[in-house]
Symmetry: C2
Subunit: 337 residues, 2 copies
Amino acid sequence: MNDCILLAHGSGGRLSHELIEQVFAPAFHNPLLARMDDSAVLPTLPPGARPALTTDAYVVQPLFFPGGDIGRLAVCGTVNDLAMLGAQPLALSAAFVLEEGLPLPDLQRIVASMAKAAAEAGVPIATGDTKVVEHGQADGCFITTAGIGAIPAGVDLSGANARPGDAVLLSGTLGDHGLAIMSQREGLRFEAPLASDVAPLNGLVRQMLEATPRIHTLRDPTRGGLATTLNEIAAQSGVEIVLEESAVPIRPAVQGLAELLGLDPLYVANEGKLIAIVPEPDAGAVLAAMRAHPLGQDAAIIGRVQAGRSGRVSLHTVLGAHRILDMLSGELLPRIC
Amino acid sequence: MNDCILLAHGSGGRLSHELIEQVFAPAFHNPLLARMDDSAVLPTLPPGARPALTTDAYVVQPLFFPGGDIGRLAVCGTVNDLAMLGAQPLALSAAFVLEEGLPLPDLQRIVASMAKAAAEAGVPIATGDTKVVEHGQADGCFITTAGIGAIPAGVDLSGANARPGDAVLLSGTLGDHGLAIMSQREGLRFEAPLASDVAPLNGLVRQMLEATPRIHTLRDPTRGGLATTLNEIAAQSGVEIVLEESAVPIRPAVQGLAELLGLDPLYVANEGKLIAIVPEPDAGAVLAAMRAHPLGQDAAIIGRVQAGRSGRVSLHTVLGAHRILDMLSGELLPRIC
């Protein structure tokens, strides 16, 4: 087999089959993928469960960064979008657009990372596709994943379910993913290196829903960061959300680099964090469940939902002032995911 | 709104939301998409139905071609991959990688075409994602679709199910998609212009399965063409497949251009055709059902399955000779889908 990707690897012919047999099938090995038909056939869903469907395209640069790579990102992002509706992931698909000339070891490293992340999340990569475009297109590799999950009967999470009086919880520190990518791009080195937080959150969500099924909203603050995600929820639910700046956990190294680069961590992408909006009486139990999970150790209650002005998000600053947090405008960090 | 795509349309912030609200949501309008959560929530499957999952990335050049465009291709390709397992499509996802500078009217035209194709197939586009990459990447637009379908109880189609004695049917003429793209790229003009056959095949499949549920294999001969697809089936099923050259329908205009360009239509991509492998006693009923559908009017019995040599495909030529049809090697037509 050649040591870099050729256009013929996307032909559908012999080299495409070799790529599947020598790279994808051994790494993703599972009975669903092994069928090699046009679609994967999945087990029937549990009785009463509703299927959830989601997709995301990944174009992150660089392909490899501290704490992860485009493959881990593509698996975790789709698992997390399912988890935010309380769905346990049943199967993922993965479609690759590869650039002619991509070194095969790079692809193998990405695929191995996807397999590892899928194993962490407990979900098979059941079907896929590969296209190859000419050198100079596609920056090495773009990956689009899609996923099916099963929402158990009785679970109903939505950005539209936040209610006045609810508590707003965050599962950990903000800005780690975005600043890790930026430090890599800028070639910055620190004593305590930054690392992306990219991780599958379905295990954390399962533990939270076991603590109480009365969670109203879950959402992962990816592109646009915490501020943009809360704006979406405030608009969908027709409520105001007020944050306490002092309660929002941010690592000192992230805060420092953000200041250096003129970035606000409230608008920076995260890939292993979630926001939970829960009725006030359940906030303590949900917080305890989050802190009991390795991915929620730094969880905190960071604000509350008010009737107030529909769609508004505001921040009560450490200096005692109030600042309106608008949705992100412009493009802060291109190609962050 | 700006008249071309900016990096900020992929930020996850205000311009991303405007793109969704002004372009995607009005065109794809449906209750599943309207929820605007991280995943779409689908209705529960019919009792006993198994879910099927598939995905494909589309990088075709040019984006617009006679008979279709990248949007129609992306919808039909995924619908067809579901249909080849006998699954009725329940929902699609669509992920866009857009190039900075793509004219907005081009995107709107693509999106309108996707909506039309989805309506033809009777399937909602339930969720999606958009990323933007710098000018010079992504050739305007790449689209990855994924789809969920429901395989009714009792339907079991696979490339591994072909049996000696089975008849091999083809739903219509070969090579139309690939040659239409090539004529566009080469700037060739003909009195009878070529057009891609891109179409959703789930209606045709439904009609065939109503004629008899005893179909063994369905597959659409896309990249690699009829010859490569039959090689896959012959290998999966451990059988030999013998074709009658005189029985394979090819339009004279396609045959003529193929000879001019030195292409073999047996290896050229189709996007609205299917191969059916059925027990000999059912072949007549399936053929009649195919011909009764607008997308199967030119259907024909083109060959048979033999015990013979496992994995081999051969052609009985009009001159009475036998020719081995191997899998496509090399890359015949880059970026054909």
